[in-house]
Structures are given as C-alpha cells and as structure tokens.
Symmetry: C2
DNA sequence: CTCTATGCAAAAACTTTGCAGGGAT
DNA sequence: ATCCCTGCAAAGTTTTTGCATAGAG
C-alpha cells in the first residue's frame, strides 16, 4: 500500500497545496518515470510550479530524476528499486527488477541506469 | 595504442577535415568524458560544427554520450569500458574499471551509469 | 497575520537549423 | 566539379527566475 500523499508531505514539513497533492497523486499512479511533457496535459498548475515543486521534492528525497536521450528530464517517486533500463532507440524506460550487485569502494550508490537496445527494437 | 584519427575517419568514409581531426585528437587525449563547455576554449571551430560533428560521430559509433546532472551532455570515444560513476554532488564522472555483471534478457546493453555520492563528497 | 506557493511572462542554458560560402576528394 | 563541411546568426527546447498576488498554517 503506497504512502498517502498527505503523509509524505507532512513528514517533510511541507505545505499541502493543491499543486503538490496533484503532482504526488499523478506520480503515485505512474508505472514509469514521467517528464513534464508527459504530464502537462493532465496538470492544472503552471510549468514553473511543476518544476519548483519537483525540485523541492528532489531536495527532500521524495522524487528521483534522470535525463533521457530525448533531452528531457524524467521523474518518479523514490522507490526501493533504483535500476532502470533505457532503450536508446525508442526511449522507453523499464524498471530493472533483478538485484544489481554493484559496489564501488566507499561511494554511496543511489541509482543505476543501463542503456541499450530493447528486444523490440533489436528484432 | 589508440587508433589514429585518420584511420577512424577513413574507416567510416567521412571527410577528414581540420575540425574533425581536432575533435578526435582532443577526445583521444581525454581521460574523462567532456562537454562542449569543457572544450570550447580549446576549440577553433564553431559550436555548430562541434555539435554537428559529434552528432555524426555518434551515428557512426565513434563517440558515446550521456547527460549529466548539470544538464550538459558529455562525450567520449567509445571504449570497451562503458561503466561510469557520476557523483550527484560534485558532478564528477569516473570510469568504473571493475566488470559489471548485468544481463537483461534479450536486451543489448551499451552502457551503465551509476549515480551516487563519491567518497570525497560523503566525507 | 506571516511566510511560502503560485501564475504569468520573460530569461537562461544548451543545442539545432538555415543559408551562403569554403574545402576535400 | 561536386558535395559535403563550416561559420555565423537566429531559432528551438527545456528549465529557471522575477515579481506581484493568492493561499496555507
């Protein structure tokens, strides 16, 4: 059961605004990372508000982001699984479900992005 | 011993221009991926020429690129080692020398980007 | 009531494109 | 001689900022 939007906001001592509720609800429902482009038709808020809130969410560790090959930034709620596969042909992103055993000395690892070509695009 | 610039160009049936020679020589010498920003002071060519050639090199499989957290694109000659570690605090990129044992069904894996925080930034 | 969040418009940052002239084969 | 490459300037795309108003606690 996902954490309620109100809980997430409250825990971080952020104000619960309509925009933030809307954003977090959209991301809770999403099964893949989303860009502003993906969301803009569903959003009632301005793009400035979108980016400002995303930025705040990232600072607070609620949201993660990465850049795709299409130069857009993609966002998602931070989850246990942080491995992604990005197909450089079709720009599709998939969550990697298998554990990736990577350890790099004393570095802290936050996420892993594997790029390549998916089966559909190879075939 | 690295492939000579002339050989690389010739193999791909590209014209050997001053701009291309200059670019490939800079990348051959580089030990980390470089952005346009990193190179612009060393370049005698226009930025349009830089990006057009980089783009051509990517098409031909001579060069690889990725986006960093600073929204810039970084480029490097395609090498055997395609694992990188990006520190999200200081934006430094390092080559991961250890083999990363990742395999994803029938997908073709081209590169792996691990993001996190480097020892210097943790300390 | 106070302080933060929002919308709008304009700016910023990086990259791409159009066009006319120059260079490689 | 032919085509591709180049520089310049201008446009494009995504994201950020300034400022005045609205809204949450």
């Amino acid at each position: 059961m996902p954490l309620s939007v109100e809980k997430i906001i409250e825990e971080k001592n952020l104000k619960l605004t309509t925009a933030r509720k809307e954003l977090l609800e959209l991301f809770s429902k999403a099964t893949t990372p989303l860009s502003y482009e993906d969301l803009k038709n569903s959003l009632t808020m301005d793009k400035a508000t979108f980016y400002r809130n995303i930025s705040k969410f990232e600072e607070e560790g609620i949201v993660d982001s990465f850049e795709s090959n299409d130069k857009k930034r993609y966002f998602e709620l931070k989850k246990a699984c942080h491995g992604h596969f990005l197909c450089v042909k079709c720009n599709k992103v998939e969550c990697i479900n298998q554990p990736l055993n990577i350890s790099l000395g004393d570095c802290q690892i936050d996420s892993v992005m594997v790029k390549g070509i998916c089966k559909e695009c190879i075939g």
